[in-house]
């Protein structure tokens, strides 16, 4: 187990290095306008060159890359250029993260709290009314582009329930709609996966054997079906949860929530190169970390998993 964790950790770190490199290289392809900020129009070519040189952007590419590694390793994400000129990106993020985190956690609890039990109930009563209703819900949520139902919720629910249309910190009512919108997709996918994995396990031979032993159906469901269905779930849950917490790009801009997700859209639109670079880095690290945690928790739950080649067994 420890060996597995270490190996997986090394793999994740290697992936991270590759991601950092790719992000860096991609950013070099962006137009250089993004490094000058508002003073862009007033500068002549010589001044621009001087600024770029000052930022180290005229160094040979491998030196730049090395500097970028060093900087990132120290936890220094650089300074914003346009969004809030000359302000440390980590300072900007510090003011943004609480919003995303609050909404994210709320949405996470709602979607786990409703989605997982819903999936379990659907699997236990396969083919019954609840299962059918749930399936319709899952299909609808997956088939309709989220942008559309987010908009519908914003437009119609604010009207009919007299809820605020935009977020503001001192109006608790304005928390409701964004949280609901963020939860809908989560509920659907948690329920879908939970149901699917459970139905998968219900037909296994060991479930039949457990029944033949004289075990009560309820107990079979809990100790053989549910427990085993959580193995594939445990791989997928951490990244899903992390991404919910990290904030929804679309919902944050829709309700003007000053969180991380909205920030990325802003930064891209305003060509703040260093800020985009930092945000992409953060999001991809979250992804890699999520997968890492997922794999580790799956290995904790399933004794068959080892990373070695000789491992047998189906």
């Amino acid at each position: 187990m420890i060996r597995y964790t270490l190996k997986r950790l090394v793999q994740s770190l290697m992936t991270l290095v590759i991601v950092i490199t790719i992000v860096f290289l991609l950013m070099r392809l962006m137009p250089e306008d993004g490094y000058f900020g508002d003073s862009y129009e007033k500068l002549d070519e010589v001044q621009k060159e001087a600024i770029l040189e000052d930022m180290g952007l005229r160094d040979p590419i491998h030196i730049q890359l090395l500097n970028f590694y060093k900087q990132t390793l120290k936890g220094d994400l650089g300074k914003s250029i346009i969004y809030r000129p000359k302000v440390d990106i980590s300072t900007i993020l510090k003011s943004k993260i609480p919003y995303s985190l609050n909404f994210g956690l709320a949405a996470m609890f709602i979607s786990l709290g409703i989605g997982i039990p819903l999936g379990i109930m659907m699997a236990l009563n396969k083919g019954c009314f609840l299962d059918k209703i749930g399936t319709v819900y899952i299909v609808l949520i997956n088939a309709i582009p989220s942008a559309i139902y987010y908009l519908f919720i914003q437009i119609y629910l604010t009207g009919s329930f007299n809820l605020p249309i935009l977020f503001s910190v001192d109006r608790p009512l304005s928390f409701i709609l964004p949280t609901i919108s963020m939860s809908l997709g989560g509920i659907a996918s948690y329920a879908m996966w939970m149901r699917r994995y459970m139905v998968d396990k219900i037909n296994k031979d060991y479930v039949k054997l457990a029944r033949a032993k004289g075990m009560k159906n309820r107990k079979v469901m809990i100790s053989h079906v549910l427990r085993n269905a959580f193995v594939p779930m445990s791989q997928y849950l951490p990244s899903a949860i992390l991404f919910t917490i990290a904030g929804s790009i679309y919902i944050e801009s829709l309700y003007s929530i000053p969180g991380m997700g909205g920030l990325l859209v802003d930064a891209i639109q305003r060509q703040d190169n260093t800020l985009v670079q930092a945000l992409v880095l953060i999001y991809s690290s979250i992804g890699i970390f999520g997968l890492f945690i997922g794999d580790i928790s799956m290995a904790l739950l399933d004794p068959r998993i080892t990373l070695s080649k000789k491992a047998g067994g189906k």
Binding site: Y206, K208, A210, R211, A212, K216, G313
Partner: protein, 349 residues
């Protein structure tokens, strides 16, 4: 065989399944007496209903299956009337236990083998914790797992197929059932392991005083373990008798066909015998002898009227019109007349 006490008495059992709005009749008025302490084999081709038949003794039919008549009498109780789980869990594992055919998938991969045995013990016996663990280790030793106390904490994937089947057997006998149903216990195993598992089952039968019912299509297994043989075709038992009687003096044309297809009887250079045609469509009502359409020696009456049992000896009976006093004399096929050549030796073990 001296008359023994009946432990299980199945009478005119009908089992049906609902499938896409249609009704399939899997078991058609099958009757079977099982005597205490005997070893009975039910043979038949795939789809003959042998698994469904025995599953109905434990209430393990699939959700769309139901009993539509007949009785399953076990210790003064009629199991065919059991509907609630509460009743069945008193039977399953404790009175009647089952060994399934797929050892590779019959164990939960996430639980140690020890735990899975312990779990069974705690379902039916009033022991918990340390003493049930000790009991589980004892049973593991009993089924021939060496270093059982170490192996207790192993996971199924660390075991070979044969060892897993031993664990499945350990689970089955953990609560001292009276009847052990072995559903093709050796089909998924290779030949050397097969013999070991069969010997183990025979040993456990003696030790725990079990009544065993084997379901198999491997006549070699039957010859090895069974006192009595029941031949099943299209959801009915067409011939039943002591193993010697069914092997050396078979009466039903289906039994003839089944025995003729033994690979041991094939001659070098010739194709092996196989039964023509396919089993009857179970969605339709079967008229007369179900085997008649595939039977080259079928009589006219076979297509019209279902034959009753005719007794050949007190222990041997078959459902075929050939045994009617008015029937013409039909000889069994040549090949199966000297079967003792193949099984004679084995039976004395």
């Amino acid at each position: 065989m001296e008359r023994k006490e009946k432990i299980l008495e199945v009478k005119d059992l009908v089992v049906k399944f609902r499938l896409r709005g249609e009704i399939l009749t899997a078991i058609r008025k099958a009757s079977l007496d099982v005597y205490k302490g005997e070893s009975l084999a039910i043979v038949g081709e795939s789809g003959s209903g042998k698994s469904v038949f025995t599953k109905s003794f434990m209430g393990l039919l699939d959700k769309n299956g139901f009993i539509d008549g007949g009785k399953i009498k076990y210790m003064e109780k009629d199991l065919s009337t059991y509907k609630k789980e509460k009743d069945w869990i008193k039977i399953r594992g404790k009175e009647i236990a089952m060994v399934f055919q797929e050892p590779m998938t019959s164990l939960n991969p996430l639980k140690t083998v020890g735990k899975q045995i312990k779990e069974t013990i705690e379902l039916h016996r009033d022991i918990r914790g340390k003493s049930s663990k000790e009991e589980a280790i004892k049973i593991l030793e009993d089924v021939g797992i060496s270093k059982a106390s170490m192996r207790y904490d192993s996971y199924p994937h660390e075991f070979s197929g044969g060892m897993r089947q031993r664990v499945v057997i350990a689970i089955a006998i953990a609560c001292n059932p009276k009847i052990l149903i072995c559903d093709e216990p050796t089909t998924a195993l290779d030949v050397t392991i097969q013999a070991q598992i069969l010997n183990l089952l025979k040993r456990l039968k003696k030790k725990y005083n079990l009544t065993t019912i084997y379901i198999t299509h491997d006549l070699g297994v039957v010859a090895n373990v069974a006192d009595r043989v029941a031949v099943m075709y299209a959801g009915d038992i067409v011939e039943i008798g002591k193993a010697e009687e069914v092997f050396y003096n078979p009466k039903h044309p289906y039994t003839w066909a089944l025995l003729s297809s033994l690979p041991q009887l094939g001659k070098k250079g010739e194709a092996l015998y196989s039964i023509e045609g396919t089993p009857p469509n179970l969605f339709e009502e079967i008229k007369g002898d179900a085997f008649a359409p595939r039977n080259p020696r079928a009589l006219n009456i076979d297509f019209v009227k279902k034959p009753p049992y005719f007794s050949i000896s007190p222990t041997h009976k078959a459902k075929t019109w050939l045994l009617d006093p008015k029937a013409p004399l039909v000889e069994p096929p040549e090949g199966i007349k000297n079967l003792n050549k193949y099984f004679g030796g084995k039976r004395d073990e």
